[in-house]
Structure formats: structure tokens, C-alpha cells
């Protein structure tokens, strides 16, 4: 597996083409923060706050589902009123639990393991960042 650090020159090049002056990438392995034009510095590499499988203030044995990307957290598909997964119901590994919306794009959030959807840890519609805890699944 390649290290995310190997991607920094490419990311810096992509950044240079845009008007963006800070870029933060957080994932299971850590966090990368790129800044230019004198934007304030931040820790270059810190442990990620949350990742799938890492319980965080949740019931013992529960698996926390971390956000796989950024966007507005959507419990239901925009076509339907019914949530994709109801709190307290059984879910199976791979099942779509929610969506992250950026403009017209929707990215699915899938269950990392089977179990009971014990808790929803984010408000419907809330802006969500990579790694934010979204659900707890108890075995």
C-alpha cells in the first residue's frame, strides 16, 4: 500500500491550479494539512480523530461508522421519505445506511459490519467531514 504522503506533490500541484489555499485530508492513517500563501500552519501529521471500527464514547463492543467523505448527511434518499436504515433495526455489512450529498452528487455510507443500528450520531442534513462518527452498530 502506498503512503498518503507519496501523494503530497500531486496534491500540491492540484492545489496550485485552484483558488484554495488550505487542504486538509484525514483518514484512518492520519491527517495531512497543506497550506500556501502564508495560510496558518497546522500539525502536519496527527492521528485521525475517528475511523471505522474505533469505538468513541459509544456502548462497549459497538462499531462506530465513520464518514467516508464530506457532504451533507442524508438519512433518506432524496426520492424517498423513508430513511435508508432505521435506528434499532438490523443492518447487514455492506448495506447503505445514509448518503453524503455534495450538490447533485450522493456518496453512499455503507455498514462496515452486521448488527443493530444502535445510534445515529449526526443530525439529518448536517455538514459532515471525513472521519466524523455517523452511526454506532452494536453486534
Amino acid at each position: 500500500m502506498t503512503s498518503p504522503l507519496d501523494q503530497i506533490p500531486r496534491l500540491a500541484a492540484l492545489l496550485a491550479e485552484t483558488g484554495i489555499d488550505t487542504l486538509e485530508l484525514a483518514g484512518p492513517e492520519g491527517r495531512v494539512f497543506l497550506a500556501r500563501n502564508g495560510a496558518p500552519a497546522a500539525p502536519a501529521h496527527a492521528p485521525a480523530e475517528a475511523a471505522a471500527g474505533e469505538p468513541q464514547g459509544s456502548a462497549p463492543g459497538a462499531v462506530t461508522v465513520a464518514s467516508p467523505g464530506i457532504g451533507a448527511f442524508r438519512r433518506a434518499h432524496p426520492l424517498h421519505a423513508q430513511p435508508l436504515a432505521d435506528e434499532g433495526t438490523a443492518v447487514v455489512a455492506g448495506q447503505v445506511l445514509a448518503l453524503l450529498q455534495v450538490g447533485a452528487l450522493l456518496q453512499p455510507v455503507r455498514a462496515p459490519s452486521s448488527g443493530i443500528l444502535a445510534a445515529v450520531r449526526r443530525e439529518d442534513g448536517a455538514l459532515t467531514g471525513h472521519g466524523d462518527p455517523l452511526f454506532d452498530i452494536s453486534p
Binding site: Q7, R10, L11, H77, P78, L79, H80, A81, G94, V96, L99, Q101, V102, G103, A104, L105, L106, Q107, P108
Partner: protein, 329 residues
């Protein structure tokens, strides 16, 4: 290759249509919902007009003979890939041998009548007069110039090769670009040549009252039921060129909207034309739908097309961005 497993009728290979063949009396054909076809192709990194399978009778199923990246758009048919549910308007990876099954179109905040199966590289049937769309009237293009049958095996083009791993779906344009009038779906209409030759009272009702799509409606044209249009005096016209979207008024006064498979000429008086930017809305309305006509003008029609193109450009930008991001991982 993908193999058609269903006996369900009326599915065909379509692209965005045969644009340059009117001069030979060959009509447009193409997808009834060109926006859905384009969206599916954007999700896959295809050319906007790559050929796809248009399905209008369900359930419908196909088998992928090789690993295939595909996208499903249009009507929300609770699609399953080997029993695993797919999101509406999404792309997914099928393994060789996987079976994709679409059920009846579901109700929701938007309901469509036609679904599109796009594949990376497009359906690779030969181009005929510049298009891969099936032209039923002339039995040309598409797959042997006909609707698909059980057992047909469709060749796929070469995919662009670029990895597009991240799963993504789109907010259907029926929600992103809604158009309603007094609680009913609507389409915008430009007045046509004989507009002024109908009585003011019947034209008033044309704009005011809803119309219903009757069961005598298909890819050729939609016969509508609603307030009748009355000519000021009887009209007999010579045959003249017409395009999809033209609203003809036969002697019984009940309008017919020419759709994708419409003939390139006709002799009925024309009261208006559904604008190009809104034809997909009509193309997705199930039989029985009640809808309204909204008056627009030339500038309004162009602005509507610009709005649609801007939305598509944004979808393309976001899809490419997310795909580039996943490829960089």
C-alpha cells in the same frame, strides 16, 4: 457482452438520436429521456451520447458476461445486482456472470416511466446514419433495427480505462430541476404556426386545464385527453416537416405530442411545440399522468436549455472530481 434475460418487450438500444438524417426523411429516435442517458454516461466517464439500453416494461433483467462498470438512471426500479439493492441514478461494478434485475417503477417524490442501463464504453452496435439509436419505423440502427428480445447479446465498447472506483449516485434531475404548475408537473411550450387559428376560448383552456397521457402513447407520440382545441375555421394543410415536441391537433381536437420516434413530416395543424429542454420531462411521464402546458417564448426556451446544460456541467465537474480523488488514493 450483456445478455437480455427478460421476455419483457419494448427495450431498445438508444443514444441521443440521429440528428442529421431529417433531410432523408429519417426521424430523430434516441432516448426518451436524453438527460438520464447523459447522466449515466457522465457517471461512467463515457461520451455524453454513448449508446445505452432504454427499458420501459418491467421487471427486466440482464446478465453481464464480463466484469462491467455500469450506471442505472431514469425510473427508480428498485434495481438489484445479484440480490443486492442499488441506489437510484448510481454507478456500480458488476462481476462476470452477475444478474441485474429491475422491478416495476417505484413511486417517490419523482416518478419516471423509463430506465437507462449505461455501460462503460457504451453499447457497441454499428452506427447507422451517424447514430446507434434504434429507429423502429425504418428498422435501422440499434440492435438489428428492432426492440430487444430474450437471449440477445449486446457488445460493449472499450471503456476509457480510467479507474472510477468510488461509488456515487446523482440526485435525479426530476428533483434537481423541478417544474410544476398548480400542483401538477408541467412542460413549457412555444406557440407554433397555426396557434392563432384556434378559438381564443379553446386556447385559454389549453393553458388553463390539465391534460392526461392516454394509453395510446408510446415512443412515437403521446395522445392526450383534455379540453378540445377548436379551429376558428376548418384547416387542411399540406404535409410539412415536424420534429419531436410538436403538438398536433387532429380533427377531434385532442392534441398529439410527437415524441422521439415521431415521423419527420405531418399534415395536422400545430398549436405549439414542447421545448427541447423539457421533452425529457414528458418522456418520463407514465401513462395516466396529468400535467399542464406552460407558455414560454424563444428566450425562455433557450434559458431553459442553458439551465439544463449548466446543471449537467456541474454534475460532470463533481463526478470527475470525486473520480479523480478515488483514483489518487
Amino acid at each position: 457482452m450483456i445478455e437480455i434475460l427478460s421476455r419483457a418487450a419494448l427495450a431498445s438500444v438508444q443514444d441521443l438520436g440521429r440528428f442529421d438524417a431529417f433531410r432523408w426523411g429519417v426521424g430523430l429516435s434516441g432516448a426518451m429521456d436524453p438527460l438520464a442517458l447523459t447522466c449515466g454516461n457522465i457517471l461512467l466517464g463515457n461520451e455524453d451520447g454513448a449508446a445505452a439500453v432504454e427499458m420501459q416494461v418491467f421487471p427486466f433483467s440482464v446478465r453481464f458476461e464480463a466484469d462491467t462498470l455500469f450506471a442505472l438512471t431514469g425510473a427508480d426500479c428498485a434495481a438489484m445486482l445479484d440480490g443486492v439493492p442499488l441506489l437510484p441514478w448510481s454507478r456500480a461494478q458488476a462481476k462476470a456472470g452477475a444478474v441485474l434485475r429491475l422491478d416495476h417503477a417505484r413511486d417517490g417524490r419523482w416518478r419516471g416511466a423509463r430506465a437507462y442501463l449505461c455501460v462503460a464504453g457504451g453499447i457497441d452496435v454499428p452506427e447507422v446514419l451517424g447514430s446507434r439509436s434504434t429507429q423502429l419505423r425504418g428498422a435501422i440502427g440499434g440492435f438489428d433495427g428492432r426492440m430487444l428480445r430474450e437471449g440477445d447479446r449486446l457488445p460493449l465498447g472499450r471503456a476509457a480505462g480510467e479507474s472510477r472506483g468510488t461509488e456515487i449516485a446523482l440526485v435525479p434531475p426530476g428533483l434537481a430541476l423541478p417544474l410544476e404548475a398548480d400542483g401538477l408537473p408541467a412542460v413549457r411550450v412555444l406557440p407554433a404556426a397555426e396557434y392563432g387559428r384556434f378559438t381564443p376560448a379553446s386556447l385559454d383552456a389549453f393553458w388553463r386545464e390539465p391534460f392526461r397521457i392516454t394509453p395510446q402513447s408510446d415512443r412515437y407520440g403521446f395522445r392526450l385527453a383534455g379540453p378540445g382545441l377548436e379551429p376558428v375555421a376548418p384547416m387542411e394543410l399540406r404535409s410539412h416537416g415536424i420534429v419531436p415536441g410538436v403538438i398536433q391537433v387532429p380533427h377531434n381536437g385532442q392534441p398529439i405530442v410527437q415524441m422521439c420516434e415521431g415521423q419527420p413530416s405531418g399534415g395536422y395543424p400545430k398549436v405549439g411545440t414542447v421545448i427541447e429542454a423539457d421533452l425529457w420531462r414528458l418522456g418520463q411521464m407514465p401513462i395516466g399522468t396529468r400535467f399542464r402546458f406552460l407558455a414560454t417564448d424563444w428566450d425562455g426556451a433557450l434559458a431553459a436549455l442553458d439551465e439544463r446544460q449548466a446543471w449537467l456541467a456541474e454534475v460532470r465537474r463533481l463526478a470527475d472530481l470525486l473520480s479523480a480523488r478515488s483514483a489518487a488514493r
